[in-house]
Amino acid sequence: MHKSLIKAEFQVQRDDYKCIRCRVCERQCSFEVHSYDADADRMFEDEMKCVGCQRCVEYCPTRALTIQPHPSTIRPHGNWPYRAVKDICKQAETGGMLLSSTGDELGHRIYWDHLVLNASQVTNPSIDPLREPMELRTFIGRKPDQVDVRLVNGKPVLKTELPPQLTLETPMMFGAMSYGAISYNVCQSLARAATASGTMYNTGEGGLHRDFYQYGPNTIVQCASGRFGVHREYLNAGAAVEIKVGQGAKPGIGGHVPGEKVDKEISITRMIPVGTDALSPAPHHDIYSIEDLRQLIYALKEAVEYKKPVGVKIAAVHNAAAIASGIVRAGADFVTLDGLRGGTGAAPTRTRDSVGMPIELALAAVDQRLREEGIRNNASLIVAGGFRNSTDVVKAIALGADAVYIGTAALISLGCTVCQKCYTGKCPWGITTQDPYLTKRVNPEIGTQRLTNLLRAWSLEIKEILGGMGINAIESLRGNRLHLRAIGLNERELDVLGVMHAGE
């Protein structure tokens, strides 16, 4: 065995004066960085193992620990940052594909940060959301272009039967994360928070644990290429069905939950034997064309007796606009677009960082395309991919989204520090793991509360911003790009985004 040339990424600093040898760090570190030597009465650290998750830092009762990027560095070079060198070393040592978790970390332009929002001054009053109603209710589903409502004895009466709609009390849902990728406790937290917040969470492709059928009215069940846990009862347990074609973090790539994570409960839920790898093929092997997709959409609609919306999720790829148009015409009630920064439990690093496109551009293009084709009402547009705060959400809605999925942000609210080791199954925060010793770290009571708080906080902020614009219903912001202006974008970008530059 030759010497590894991979350097420690993090430095563990322990203030020996503050360290009380309580060994909390040792017990909390699932990567076994810390150890205690009783003879010396000292703690030791193996920095090579540190992933920088900060669990020990947070749990150290005396705050004796500091974890920081390792200061020792190679000579800085524009083309050869340490990241590039490290990857090469890793591959030279393993001969394997690089694996990562979460979304793109290369920092492709985040357009949200180049968009600014409008507010009312003088000519129209801003509205104080503390004093006036401020409506975020959102409906997901196909809408007819017109509806027949007549007055009968002075009361409006609906004469048109509308296709099924999901009702959201806030335009944010929890994105698809499978039971298997995330733990039972996290699933439960998401389900309960979605229920408490009047919105939806998405099962991902992991099936639906029996315990969570009770949250069905707030559940979007996914049907992905592996068809894990998909059966009639499952499809009918949720409020809507989402066919997952692609994922923003890994367009064109299937999924893989390693066998070690497939315990008894996951096995039952996914309908696969205990300990077997859960492999989702790259394509659905019954969808090789748009007409195949149409068949699946209608097969699922049959299965749910046309009582629930059926949508399709795709990764934001170059011709997303055309694909989305095809999906709407194929009968989908909603289209989900997942951008380059969308999270994942495991993806090839190269794919994660370089395949697809930022959600802002895809969203703008798809919304515009559907409008140009006059079919924007025929499906709702849900977007996902790295939403970090409420203004990202507001901007997405102004660009044309009906609702957004938040995934990584939801996990961060549960403790995730984006250490990107989900694929190891050792998540020190107990989120993306099935290790029963680790999963306890998410207390579903606390998890539910934190997620509910997050949605509540973002909703309050959205209301505040809406009020500032003089708008009291979210539908008046949706697709209202006049409330967006860009800063520092070029003409082509402005054109794709359909927004004016600030000052115009």
Binding site: Y17, K18, I20, R21, C22, R23, V24, R27, Q28, Y59, P61, T62, G430, D435, P436, Y437, K440, R441, N443, P444, E445, I446
Partner: protein, 158 residues
């Protein structure tokens, strides 16, 4: 009239939810600090010798972990067994309290506590050591310190 004769049924104890106890043992750390002289974590551990004892014990059999301490029984066997009167159930709070000054360290209480909730404290002479519910604090230190809300105070009254 015999006011103190009737035994109290008030009961208060710290309960652990093993489903979310993560075995970090911060409860033990907090208990030690709360029962230290200085109440300062670094001094309590690094300067006070011998160190205060934790009255809560995290039991472990991975993945299972849970904190356990005195259950403050309705009819505490330790108080029955105590030959010095050091252990008694306080009618006001329902807490089973221990008077270190009276205790001689005969370990009868250790022998009869079905929870194993009493330890021997060998500092400055010997005496039993057990959960006192941190009655002088707003809530028991272990409960306050639990990062995952796995510990909570349960109170029931007759």
């Amino acid at each position: 009239m015999a006011t103190k004769a009737k035994t109290t049924k008030k009961r208060r104890r710290v309960q652990a939810d093993e489903k979310v106890c993560i075995g970090c043992k911060l409860c033990e750390v907090a208990c030690i600090v709360a029962h230290s002289k200085s109440k300062n974590i670094i001094r309590a551990f690094n300067e006070e010798t011998p160190r205060a004892l934790s009255r809560v014990l995290v039991e472990e059999s991975k993945p299972l972990t849970f904190a356990l301490q005195c259950r403050h029984c309705d009819d505490p066997p330790c108080a029955v067994a105590c030959m010095t009167g050091a252990l008694r159930k306080d009618p006001e709070t329902g807490a089973v309290l221990h008077d270190r000054e009276k205790c001689v360290g005969c370990w009868m209480c250790v022998m009869v506590c079905p929870y194993g909730g009493i330890q021997r404290d060998m500092r400055e002479g010997k005496a039993a050591s057990k959960c006192d519910l941190c009655l002088e604090l707003d809530e028991p230190a272990c409960v306050a310190a639990c990062p995952n809300a796995a510990l909570f105070v349960v109170e029931d009254e007759d």
